[in-house]
């Protein structure tokens, strides 16, 4: 094969604008060859999805391709007509949420057959579908291909999507966060499957993700996007182990890792909105190493070593990421007298889902020490959230007892005393619905203070300002409404609202899982600070082992309603005893594990 046959994708100086001439993405250059996986990494709003969809000639309403050229498999995509013929034949798509992407009334075999017909080679062989299913690790028998999407698990659905993306034998597959909705064990299997398919089918894959650890695992090369531009690009090893752009470095330093227990160093500030983008470097306002020129002129994408490009003139100054483990025994615990503040014994709870009772907790017992942070870890559906709801009195348990400061608590909040309700507060997972859109931030935070601490209007107003300061928000936020705040800001307001009750225990239900990594780092570090400042005990619920390692000093691993392992975070992460914990830890993607592997490979092969 000659070189031209190998070119899967070339984006040349692509610019996509709104009708108001604000560019969503600008000056994007990407090249891909067959048999290669390129990780396209960035936070929400960085333009990674717009870039990926531009390959299909698909831009949202009001958007326009105003500059540049898109070449797929050696063919120049000059008109919508050509784009249309290329979809399926040259390039196919694997969506983020297979549950929504698959037509629920179409048998999966028929769905795949539709894509086979889109291909260059019109094969009508019946075994084509079953061979595709087998290739993505699913049963190839006709019984399976006659199933409907709802009869498959999330992981199986995603494999069906991958099979149908392969069906048309494309040159390039674009995968848009394909494993974000899957639990870690399934994610691991799908990633392995993708690597195998890349080699077997000699297809190029553009893998969009916000998770650096996943990108490290699957990609050979990586492109990091920020504010609509590629800021760093190169081999995944070079970019992630020695990031040269300060933004990439910030992302790496913000990524929690279960193998290295370390404080995160969040980036300052937030990404500029479309309107705020200037002629200078979009990262300049947040950059610790900016020079005067950065604010006036957009830096060039410099090639600093073979294939490694950085959009930063001061790249030599970027410090290396500190990967040393922080070994501190929880200082909070040693300072205070160690007493149990919350005790859960023999808890059994069920919830109803689709007309069936699901057991969330069979027999769960644990206790939380004053000033301690206990993490409840488990996959989706393991019952973590229900346990959180039982603790705060939103869900009545069937059996068992919850004790707060030695007193047994009623099942529902309305039967608890004011003092008990004040003492236990919750922060929810989804920042977009945690705050009432009709209440200003001040009203939202003042309410618990007035209701549970009996403050008058003036005292509550002062308390609001004090708490906003505690969650590192300016006092001007008090008069704003939730819709005017970003996700991270809302989550901080939700934390302030919980603190307004003057709690002793803060229950955090997946509070960082819907946030970008750099925002997550801010929230996690904030939680660490206020824990000391307010002497709080924290029950932290999450599926992310990296987050556990960052915040918790004790960890409980939940498997189908039972605690299968409990212990000191460091010990559980280093030497898990239970087979399920080991399975979770092995499957959890880790940036440092990838970096160590690259280093040892180099040692071995020179």
């Amino acid at each position: 094969m000659n070189d031209a046959d190998n070119d899967a994708l070339e984006l040349r100086d692509v610019k996509i604008e709104l009708s108001s001439h604000d560019a969503i993405i600008s000056g994007v250059n990407l090249e891909m060859r067959r048999g290669e996986i390129l990780g396209l990494v960035g936070e929400s709003g960085s333009g990674k999805t717009t870039t990926a969809l531009s390959i299909f000639g698909y831009w949202g309403r009001g958007l326009k391709l105003t500059r540049g050229q898109i070449v797929v498999g050696g063919e120049v995509m000059s008109t919508q007509q050509i784009f249309r013929t290329a979809r399926g034949r040259l390039v196919s798509y694997v969506p983020q949420n297979p549950g929504v992407a698959l037509n629920p009334s179409l048998r999966i075999g028929n769905a795949i057959r539709d894509m086979v017909r889109q291909g260059r080679v019109a094969t009508s062989q019946p075994e084509e579908v079953s061979s595709l299913l087998v290739r993505v690790g699913l049963p190839g028998d006709s019984e399976f291909s006659r199933r409907y999407p709802h009869q498959l698990s999330g992981g199986q659905q995603q494999r069906v999507c991958i099979a149908s993306s392969l069906a048309s034998r494309p040159t390039l597959i674009v995968l848009d966060e394909p494993t974000t909705g899957l639990d870690v064990v399934t994610q691991e299997l799908v990633l392995e499957e993708l690597i195998r398919l890349r080699d077997q089918e000699n297809v190029a894959m553009l893998y969009i993700t916000h998770d650096l650890a996943v990108a490290a695992k699957i990609a050979q090369r990586i492109a990091v996007m920020y504010a609509g531009r590629v800021v760093e690009q190169g081999s995944v090893r070079e970019v992630l182990s020695k990031p040269r752009h300060p933004y990439t470095r910030g992302l790496v330093a913000s990524t929690p890792d279960h193998l290295v227990i370390r404080p995160l160093t969040p980036l300052q500030g937030i990404a500029p909105s479309l309107r705020e983008r200037t002629t200078g470097c979009p990262f300049a306002p947040r950059c610790p190493q900016r020079v005067d020129l950065c604010e006036r002129e957009l830096p060039e994408l410099l090639e600093i070593s073979l294939g490694h490009k950085v959009r930063c003139p001061e790249w030599k100054k970027t410090p290396l990421v500190d990967w040393t483990t922080l070994v501190v025994q929880s200082d909070v615990q040693t300072q205070m007298e160690v007493s149990t503040v919350l005790k859960v014994t023999g808890l059994r709870a069920e919830y109803r889902s689709r007309g069936q009772n699901v057991v969330a907790a069979k027999d769960v017992s644990f206790s939380v020490l004053r000033g301690g942070c206990v993490a409840l870890v488990g996959e989706s559906g393991s019952g973590k959230t229900t346990i959180a709801r039982v603790i705060v009195g939103l869900h009545a348990p069937l059996k068992g007892e919850v004790q707060f400061r030695g007193e047994s608590l009623s099942g529902l909040a309305k039967h608890r005393s004011i003092e008990q309700r004040r003492g236990i507060q919750i922060v929810f997972q989804n920042p977009s619905d945690a705050l009432n859109p009709r209440h200003s931030v001040e009203v939202a935070i003042a309410r618990p203070a007035r209701l549970l601490r009996n403050m008058d209007r003036n005292d509550a107003s002062k308390e609001v300002l004090r708490l906003l300061d505690a969650v590192r928000l300016p006092s001007s936020v008090a008069r704003r409404y939730p819709t005017e705040l970003s996700g991270g800001e809302r989550q901080r307001v939700a934390i302030a609202r919980a603190l307004a009750a003057g709690p002793e225990i803060l229950v955090c239900d997946e509070i960082s899982s819907s946030l970008d990594v750099s925002v997550q780092a801010v929230v996690l570090e904030l939680l660490r600070d206020i824990r000391v400042e307010f002497g709080l005990s924290i029950v932290f619920i999450t599926h992310d082992l990296g987050v556990v390692a960052t915040v918790a000093d004790r960890v409980l691993v939940l498997e189908s309603g039972l605690i299968c392992e409990e212990g000191n975070t460091l010990e559980v992460m280093r030497s898990p005893r239970h087979i399920y914990t080991r399975k979770l830890l092995d499957a959890a993607p880790s940036l440092i594990a990838s970096i160590n592997k690259w280093d040892s490979d180099e040692d071995r092969y020179g």
């Binding site: 705060v392 939103l394 929810f428 997972q429 619905d433 705050l435 618990p448």
Partner: protein, 285 residues
């Protein structure tokens, strides 16, 4: 700090920028304003008595009688100007009553998460299954054609739809984090419904208001048209259409004028409602 006032100011501002700017809403509001002014100021402007026979029945429009005379020789314009007050009044009261009942039932059903929900909603389903006009006719025939009976029977027919919309919205909102947070801090039910839920379901309710209002106009006018509502010789738009059918070939305007006024009112109310729905959709982004 005057937090409450800033709250309403903001939503008012949103209303102004979102709803008021759309051309549909402006046209709709002009339509509604025309009909409302016609109904309120009409009796002051009417050139003749609405119940006095002053000429040949079914006389075509002349300079003295712009819309001609009706089947009993009364001035159509005067009857049109007098006839709005009762119709509008009854429709407004019927809509308010519909909402009082529908909102209460919908909020309780959507919020309780207990058997009360199924109980209330099955009851609502029973009412929903009854044919609207038939219920009204039976009630009016059985209990007599008073304004109160007309209003109550219209509300009885219209409340199930409101209850269902309110319940669905309440159910959705009551699972949100801020409602759960309020439950967890032990707020009482009334305060949760008033502070957390009601403001957040106001959008779909206001959007539905226009539809219910036009329904009540159609229902009450229909009953009047069938001659079972307001009894002659009192003027009423619905009744006018019915009475003057027999002279439609002599004086078309005796039927056309009240029909057009009713149509303009319904169109106007719906245009405003639609604009509101659209502005809700936009502000969600």
């Amino acid at each position: 700090m005057t937090t409450l006032s800033t709250d309403t100011e903001l939503s008012r501002e949103k209303f102004r920028s979102g709803v008021m700017r759309s051309p549909g809403a402006i046209i709709g509001m002009v339509f509604v304003a025309i009909v409302v002014l016609l109904a309120i100021l009409g009796p002051l402007l009417a050139p003749y008595s609405p119940i006095a026979t002053i000429g040949i029945p079914g006389q075509a429009p002349t300079a003295a009688h712009i819309l001609g005379l009706d089947f009993e020789g009364r001035d159509v314009l005067s009857r049109l100007l007098y006839g709005g007050r009762t119709t509008l009044f009854m429709c407004v009261v019927a809509t308010l009553l519909t909402y009082a009942v529908g909102l209460t039932i919908g909020l309780i059903a959507g919020y309780t998460r207990s058997f009360v929900d199924s109980l209330l909603m099955r009851m609502v389903d029973v009412f929903l299954s009854l044919p609207a006009l038939l219920v009204m006719l039976v009630m009016v025939t059985a209990l007599g054609p008073s304004q109160v009976i007309l209003i109550v029977s219209a509300a009885l027919v219209l409340f199930p739809g409101v209850a269902r919309i309110v319940r669905t919205s309440t159910l959705e909102v009551s699972r949100r984090g801020y409602v759960e947070a309020a439950i967890a801090r032990g707020e009482n039910t009334i305060s949760i419904l008033r502070r957390e839920i009601l403001p957040n379901i106001a959008g779909p309710i206001i959007a539905d208001l226009g539809l219910r209002f036009s329904w009540s106009i159609i229902l009450i006018s229909s009953v009047n048209f069938l001659g079972l509502g307001i009894s002659p010789p009192n003027p009423d738009w619905g009744l006018m259409i019915a009475e003057n059918r027999i002279i439609i070939s002599e004086n078309l305007y005796a039927v056309l004028a009240p029909s057009v006024v009713i149509a303009i009112l319904i169109l106007g109310v719906n245009l405003v409602g639609d604009a509101f729905v659209r502005s809700l959709g936009e502000s969600r982004d």
